[in-house]
């Protein structure tokens, strides 16, 4: 969700975040988050970026074709690796599932609906993991994968402020969203966030974006981003 907030902030578009328990079901494609502008509803990063581009705002106009292709490749990497790792940790690691995910997912609903919906979601995520071949992985292997991904990102970032020169692009928003979430979500163990913290330029990158785009901002509303969780800050 933070990816979208970051992206829209970078485009200088005023947004308002609303949290709803049934946000997943409200989305036209079933995936979060989605935006509600006027009387249009658009969900998922790809379509949202297209939508915003059609309205005349784009962050990647300054890039040439090679860079755009590279950006797409990195975005795919982040989606495949980080997103899946997050899902794995939330739904396939038994300890985390029992102590954190089930209570959090079922919290808006009364008994017995909270248990039923949690189990339904867990079954769905596990089925997806099986389909992409992650079901057989252990936690260590997943953490290894995350490490490799962070390594690649860290190398690409180097000492630059953003991934492509001085201007932020969709890739920055996406990476920020995922890394920030990993760094700030409280789980049973800190192993995942430790992996990210190993790369100091990535943590500096996150802090920089947070300071630049998320502090001291007035929230006006012409776009509403709908999410399922609350906002957290990196600086605790």
């Amino acid at each position: 969700t933070l990816c979208f907030q970051a992206f829209l902030q970078m485009c200088n578009l005023p947004i308002r975040v609303v949290c709803r328990a049934n946000a997943e079901y409200m989305s036209p494609s079933g995936k979060l988050p989605f935006i509600h502008v006027g009387n249009q509803v658009v969900s998922e990063l790809g379509p949202i970026v297209q939508f915003v581009k059609a309205k005349g705002h784009s962050l990647s106009d300054g890039l040439d074709e090679v860079q755009k292709a590279e950006m797409k490749a990195y975005m795919e990497l982040v989606n495949n690796m980080l997103l899946t790792a997050e899902l794995y940790l939330q739904w396939c690691d038994d300890v985390t599932v029992e102590e954190i995910t089930h209570p959090r997912y079922g919290s808006p609903y009364p008994w017995p609906l909270n248990r039923i919906l949690s189990y339904q979601k867990q079954w769905e995520v596990r089925r997806k993991m099986k389909a992409i071949g992650w079901a057989g992985k252990t936690l260590e292997q997943v953490l290894e994968d995350v490490d490799q991904c962070c390594n690649a990102l860290s190398q690409r970032l180097g000492t630059q402020p953003y991934f492509f020169n001085k201007q932020p692009t969709e890739l920055d928003a996406l990476v920020f969203g995922h890394l920030f979430t990993i760094l700030t979500t409280q789980l049973i163990t800190d192993e995942l966030s430790e992996k990210v913290k190993n790369y100091s330029n990535l943590t500096a990158f996150c802090r920089r974006i947070e300071q630049q785009y998320f502090e001291g901002h007035d929230k006006d509303s012409s776009t509403t981003v709908v999410a399922r969780s609350a906002k957290r800050s990196l600086l605790r």
Binding site: R20, A21, Y25, P28, V41, S107, Y109, P110, L113
Partner: protein
């Protein structure tokens, strides 16, 4: 031995029902048809306990259900039943799709001339949008909710038939209280149905009916729902509210297309009333008299009604005023066909009037099929 000298010995010869029967029916409800497969154990433990399993596949909904019914020995009207069911429905007038899975238990018992029903019901309700173009107000209601409610209904029926009665009256009062036995939906719902019929000269019947209802949301209770961001209004999901309009209620308007709406999707309302005056006469020139022709009647009708949301802060006088303004009404004539003692088909020519902006009308010829008509 102690038989009377002029008494009679009466012997009943009966054939016991089979232990297990299957059935295959087609059903006509309010403007939809379905195919029903059933299995029944009519007398499971020897005291008229009945267990039924039904699977129904229809034009609009698919459902299955298991029910257990037990009457009190000797008093069949006092009975008790437990039902388990899953029902799916589609409501194109609201762009809404609903799936309910639930369990309910009910007690029926007569008191003097009235019949009472006490019921507890727990339903897991899942709402979804029927199309990508559904309005945002409907989209906001998608998701899961749990309703646990207690209800009571009272029926007094002195009519000679439930479809096209010639005399008698019907009064049905129903109330439902949800939220105090669990679940996350809280409201109090009251509705009533009244009908009176009188036979006039020349085989014609005059009938008057009045329906009404009100739905009152109950404020958020403490505990798990206190910190939710939903407003009270959202607790009254689309299917809990009342709907009005169509060939079975206020004729001349499209199905459930009266009242509050958003971008073409009808959201239903929290209070309504509807009334009708009918005159039924035999077909002109009485073709097929004594046989098939008796199933048809011509009818002349006048319908009126209103559906709106109330501001609960105002007093009852303001509520009555709100229900009395913007009345929709219609009049017309048509032919009614009676199907057994279960359903009725109507073909009417209607003139809708008092149409408010947002309502969808069906002026001219309108066809309707169902079991419960205004």
């Amino acid at each position: 031995d102690d038989a009377l000298s002029n008494g009679l010995d009466v012997t009943f010869e009966v054939t016991e029902l089979r232990r297990l029967t299957g059935s295959y029916n087609t059903m006509v409800g309010n403007n939809e048809g379905s195919m029903v497969l059933g299995l029944k154990f009519p007398n499971l433990f020897g005291r008229a306990e009945k267990v039924t399993f039904q699977f129904s596949y229809g034009t609009k909904e698919t459902s299955y259900g298991l029910s257990f019914f037990k009457p009190q020995p000797g008093k069949f009207e006092r009975n008790f039943s437990v039902n388990l069911y899953k029902v799916t429905g589609q409501f194109p007038w609201s762009s809404l799709r609903e799936t309910d899975r639930g369990i309910s238990t009910e007690f029926n018992f007569p008191i003097w001339k009235t019949n009472h029903t006490l019921k507890w019901e727990g339903v897991w309700r899942e709402l979804g949008c029927l199309a990508r173009t559904a309005s945002f107000s409907v989209r906001e209601e998608s998701g899961h909710s749990l309703k646990s409610s207690l209800s009571h209904a009272m029926v007094i029926d002195s009519r000679n038939s439930s479809i096209l009665p010639r005399r008698g009256a019907l009064l049905k009062i129903n109330q439902e209280l949800a939220g105090y036995t669990g679940g996350d939906v809280s409201f109090l719902k009251e509705d009533f149905e009244f009908q009176v019929n009188k036979q006039l000269l020349w085989d014609s019947v005059f009938s008057a009916s009045l329906w009404g209802g009100i739905l009152v949301p109950i404020g958020d209770k403490p505990s798990s729902i206190a910190d939710r961001q939903r407003s009270i209004k959202l607790n009254l999901t689309a299917f809990t509210r009342f709907y009005l309009g169509g060939p079975t209620s206020v004729r001349g308007f499209s199905m459930y297309s009266i009242g509050p709406q958003s971008e073409g999707d009808y959201l239903g309302g929290e209070a309504y009333w509807a009334g009708g005056l009918h005159l039924y006469t035999p077909l002109p020139f009485r073709p097929g008299q004594g046989g098939f022709g008796d199933l048809f009647r011509t009818h002349f009708f006048l319908n009126a009604g209103n559906l709106c949301n109330l501001n609960y802060g105002d007093g009852p006088r303001a509520h009555l005023q709100k229900l009395a303004e913007c009345i929709r009404w219609s009049y017309g004539t048509g032919i009614v066909l009676r199907l057994g003692n279960i359903a009725r088909l109507e073909l009417n020519y209607c003139f809708p009037l008092g149409v408010q902006s947002g309502d969808r009308i069906c002026d001219g010829v309108q066809f309707g099929a169902g079991i419960r008509f205004l």
